[in-house]
Amino acid sequence: MAMASLRREGRRFAAPLISSQPITAIRSSLIAEEQAPLGIRSISTQVVRNRMKSVKNIQKITKAMKMVAASKLRAIQTRAENSRGLWQPFTALLGDAPSVDAKKNVIVTISSDKGLCGGINSTSVKISKAIHKLTAGPEKETKYVILGEKAKAQLIRDSKKDIELSITELQKNPLNYTQVSVLADDILKNVEYDALRIIFNKFHSVVSFLPTMSTVLSPEVVEREAESGGKLGDLDSYEIEGGETKGEILQNLAEFQFSCVLFNAVLENACSEQGARMSAMDSSSRNAGEMLDRLTLTYNRTRQASITTELIEIISGASALEG
């Protein structure tokens, strides 16, 4: 008891003594007490304690964010998996032709509005830029339609003149088909295209999200490809009811296909975003825990060093009185 009160008083007296060189003393006490020159007492442990408190708070926050992301992921995962059934019939009918040669390409990049979700937005942007380069050439033009703030921020830096539309605040209300279809309608009305390439992160599992590209062709390109045979060439063998021509049906199908594919892409990207955020927050809480361990060791060493110093002084003072 007495030792503790003595120690507390010693610390209060120590403060004005070291105020002349506070910064070097702090640094030395945090790095290694042995490096501090003799005669200077170690800094009070207040600084280390403050740091420990803030690191602990950060750890709590990131743990909470991880749990929030996990619950949001659970909610949206079933919807994303169910929405895969929307575009599968289209691929069965029309085939998927990523290597089609089109004059006007429009790259629809899907990203998140919020950050702290790992590297998924950067991979989407990287792939978009690569595809832009791939589809560039004489008489060809490639434009961007950007969904989400994060991709917009990255693409503004060097592809400003190629951006056609940018859309944000998509996830204010829970995602539904009506919203995405209105968005698809806007894109179709405002942008001329031969091929639409949608780039998003497909959700395979909580730890794996792969960037994927889906291609939707305009009806004219479908007609052109149908002449060269393959899956699209078989379209003529289908019987058309209802008095519509093949061209009209292709146009309806193309619009609906774009809307379905975009809906699935937006849902999968949202899933990937929550999954990536979960793993990012998990690793950040783990790092905070390690940092806390290291700081605790430093704190204990500093505390013990100051106790030892007090003891030495008292004992040497006592022995000086006797001797």
Binding site: K160, K161, I163, E164, L165, S166, I167, T168, E169, L170, K172, N173, N176, Y177, T178, Q179, S181, V182, L183, A184, D185, D186, L188, K189, N190, G243, E244, E248, Q251, N252, E255, F256, S259
Partner: protein, 84 residues
Amino acid sequence: MASNAAVPFWRAAGMTYITYSNICANLVRNCLKEPYKTEALTREKVHFAVSKWVDSKPQKSSMIRIFLDLGFLRCAIRSDTEEE
């Protein structure tokens, strides 16, 4: 039934297939009974902010589509006049 050569009425009015199917879906949702009706109508909320880019600059136009559920048909007509 429309004649064989003419386009369907909605295409002639300037709607895409997407708009047409959304309006039909809205009509179907309105035929439901409570409580399923309110549940289904929550799935119709639309909100996003779109901005067109001209000359590397986003237009500061107020093209925010904030129409909620039932007003879909009214809003589809309104947005066409806004674009002029």
